[in-house]
Symmetry: none
Subunit: 528 residues, 2 copies
């Protein structure tokens, strides 16, 4: 099968997405990761449009890429001037990239809308390509609105492509700029273009948007019809509904279509790349992202789990390890005995070992989930519950009592403090602390009390705190679920509390978090 | 064109998604919204698998749907027994739904994996369908793993479908259970099935998963090959990478494929439905969701904006109003000003009237929104803020102080009480009350204090209380947004509070709710 060349535009089209902003230095780091995984072309930005992109290309001049070729992006020359007089084109050349990608208009309606003539538009395309080729660049021509233009006026759309070919372009990229076309139309139009320009030997490529949720499918259709360059972004970041997601396309191309594009070793870096880019963009990774998401190989239903344990292909379309991901088994009221036994084993526990009836344990877990607990999101509390139900729980501390007081005067901010009394072994400890709200005060007071016995508790802190009202219809007496995520130097764990009282629910999650931490580290001795 | 029937499984397969949990009451509310938009079939749950789904079907018996038909979901009978002896099937019948959907195995490998024989699997399918038809149900047969099974052993896969047809099934739903198939294979297999079973007249349907990002595309392919039932979930919620997203499929079917499925009036409710389900699931709505997302028709400055202003089709694949969405153009604060003036006029207020600078008001509102306030969801607080900023606010009461105390001893439940001191006119009032948690105690104490002056306050109560952590990364010191919905005999209003302290945020929302109520009813005289 013919190889497919990957063209990444995360650093250019991706940054058109809402809330996506990268500094020039961050762009360099992302480009290095893209190079590292074997992306063939990296579009770094639009140097004519903003100073940050110019800064990126300046920094990039000192960076050595392994195999990736860097591209600078811009528009065809402005109407009525020579390419040499267009500062946008000058900025492209000054970027000193081996590749330059320029976009031009395909759609007659759009040309007229921008007060240009159809003839001048064709000259702009041809002359710009000629000029860039004279500068020694590999030139990609992006045909903006190609599919909408082809539907409206196929003859004119073909004239624009021919202008780029006459100019000497190395590749034609057909763009579904508005992202609204269906795969069947993409296929028909692509086939028509291939038969019209096939003898020129020019490479054809595809650039899609996800406005109808079809960016990946449309890219695949184009590849089936002869596209050898696929443009997209990491995680599908991009304007409106985003671009084609390379993180989804790459494993489809390699594992399902058997089109060479990156090596199996590099494919294993896919999940890491996806995470790196979402971290850099400071966007929470999508759990449901195909192939690499946290939930992509998570099994919840009891039937599914028992089958997957016998043979993963029963409910997994590919081996998660191929893309650097792994299987997860979730705990929930849809789950049966097999989920819970699997999970317990994963935690190094034997739940049938000391004569406990695992059916009763499952019933107890289902009862709690009915009350609003959600153990698939709180493995820490799940482990503590299993320990309690199998009489293996050895709490590091016991609560004697707490008292939280919140005071407010007129419109000054609230003031909270907490007094916590715990016992560890035969010793009691009472401490008080203030905090930013009652839960923070409780956290601080408990932490201070525990510190007397377990100094290492300082390495641990809360990283996430989620509150959800489960049944919103009971007014302020509604049931509340609190999820807390905690971490220390090496680990990350989640705990849960459910109650009609938000402080009670928070306490449950908080206490579980500390119990889990202290039980986990057996080398953490009580210094009574 | 033939109509397409929509089959929603948000309440069943959707709840297999990580972090998706609905109470039985929430499921009823979602079912009513699905009915309201014109979904044809609503799968409510799996009554044989958990008590919550049984509770849902019990509640549903008293609900009247306009046109939607309710379906209960379950498995074929267990091996080696009669359908009448299978309590899972008994639970289906006891659900008293007009439709029953059962799934059976297609894939020979999977049958053997679960230690069954190929023959017994066929008997299970046929006998279960016969038995359910005898009970007078419309029976849908979900062919689990159809496409993987058809690839592995097409003869056996067809035998399973024929067993369901012989049993008298009303529809065959071909499932891409693992979600890994490509559109071209879905099309080939569907075409083969249609030509094999076409003369039986049975309806064919499609059920896809999004493990390769192709759930929507695969559903479209199946419709192109003759599927007349499309299964999916709202927002694509579901196991692993989710199910086919009906929120994307519905506008594609109606606007792009011209297949009748819901009316244009109902299509306008699409965005609202998507939001309602994400709110109920307490999952942050995806901004980039096709058609309905906040960013789906958002244009960043520059070329796109000026073109869209001349002609929206330049960068919009459909008119956002058709699906209840709207265009966003992120430009100057001038547009913000006209929005806010529009909003104020809507509330019968004149914000420029008493010499206030409306540009300053806009800046103040933007500042608060930046801090986490969300006034589109809290018109009550928005009105009070506008009144304050234009010096028109006449508070019905002033807070002098409050104190909330929460106490807990060992593992007994928390105990909360609040003391509230307010002034109304020249008089002070101090009251105390207990409550189910600190916010409930505050609500009760404030209500009791106000009752002395405004007895009609008794007609008002809180109907919804939502908490969301805005910035999850600061541990228990994270910022929290509280939304309260209140009602009296005639009105419903929402108020908001934002703070790092959950009690402070709750107080803001609570106080605004009472202020709004007391300001609104001018006939409500203070009885000092």
């Amino acid at each position: 099968m013919d190889p497919v060349l990957l063209y990444d535009t995360t650093l250019r089209d991706g940054t058109q997405g809402e809330n996506i902003n990268f500094s020039a230095e961050e762009k360099i780091k992302i480009a290095q990761r893209l190079d590292d995984i074997g992306i063939h072309y990296i579009e770094g930005g639009w140097p004519g449009s903003n100073p940050r992109d110019r800064q990126f290309f300046n920094l990039a001049k000192t960076v050595r890429f392994n195999t990736a070729r860097l591209a600078a992006f811009g528009s065809t020359r402005r109407p009525g001037i020579l390419p040499g007089d267009d500062h946008n084109l000058a900025a492209l050349v000054e970027s000193e990239t081996p590749v330059v990608t320029i976009f031009g208009k395909t759609w007659d309606h759009h040309v007229k809308l921008m007060s240009n003539t159809l003839e001048e538009n064709l000259s702009m395309i041809e002359e710009t390509v000629i000029w860039l080729k004279q500068k020694g660049r590999e030139v990609f021509y992006d045909a903006e609105h190609f599919f909408d233009g082809y539907r409206a006026n196929p003859e004119y759309a073909m004239l624009t492509l021919n202008a780029a070919i006459r100019g000497g372009a190395d590749a034609l990229i057909l763009c579904d700029t508005n992202g609204g076309n269906l795969p069947s139309f993409i296929a028909d139009a692509f086939r028509a273009v291939r038969s019209a320009v096939g003898q020129s030997g020019i490479r054809l490529g595809i650039h899609t948007h996800n406005d109808a949720g079809l960016a990946v499918a449309n890219s695949i259709e184009a590849v089936n019809q002869g596209a050898v360059v696929v443009q997209g972004t990491i995680n599908g970041y991009g304007e409106r509904c985003g671009n084609a997601d390379l993180i989804t396309l790459i494993p489809i191309l390699t594992l399902k279509m058997e089109r060479p594009c990156i090596t199996p070793e590099n494919l294993k870096k896919l999940r890491g790349l996806s995470r790196f880019v979402s971290e850099t963009a400071n966007i929470v990774p999508l759990n449901s992202r195909p192939f690499v998401g946290k939930s992509a190989f998570a099994h919840k239903g009891g039937i599914h789990v028992s089958a997957v344990m016998k043979d993963p292909t029963a409910y997994e379309h590919v081996d998660p390890a191929l893309v650097g991901n792994s299987r997860t088994v979730l705990i929930s009221d849809l789950s049966g005995k097999s989920n819970i036994e699997y999970k317990a084993r994963e935690m190094g526990m034997d739940i049938g070992g000391n004569g406990c009836d695992s059916r009763k344990i499952v019933q107890e877990i289902k009862k709690r989930e009915q009350e609003g607990f959600q153990f698939d999101a709180a493995e820490g509390s799940f482990k503590i519950l299993l320990e309690k139900l199998t009489e293996q729980h050895r709490p590091a501390f016991e609560l004697e009592s707490f008292r939280v007081v919140i005071e407010k005067e007129k419109d000054r901010p609230c003031n909270s403090h907490a007094i916590v009394k715990i016992s560890v072994g035969c010793r009691d400890e009472i401490t008080a602390a203030e905090g930013n709200g009652p839960v923070s005060a409780l956290d601080n007071a408990l932490r201070r009390a525990l510190h007397q016995f377990f100094p290492d508790v300082d390495t641990m802190h809360l990283v996430d705190f989620k509150v959800r009202v489960i049944d919103g219809n009971a007014g302020t007496a509604a049931k509340v679920r609190v999820l807390i995520e905690s971490r220390d130097r090496d680990n990350l764990w989640s705990t849960i509390g459910v109650s009609e009282d938000i402080i009670e629910a928070s306490w449950q999650a908080l206490a579980d978090s500390f119990q889990y931490k202290l039980a986990k580290q057996q080398n953490l001795q009580c210094v009574e």
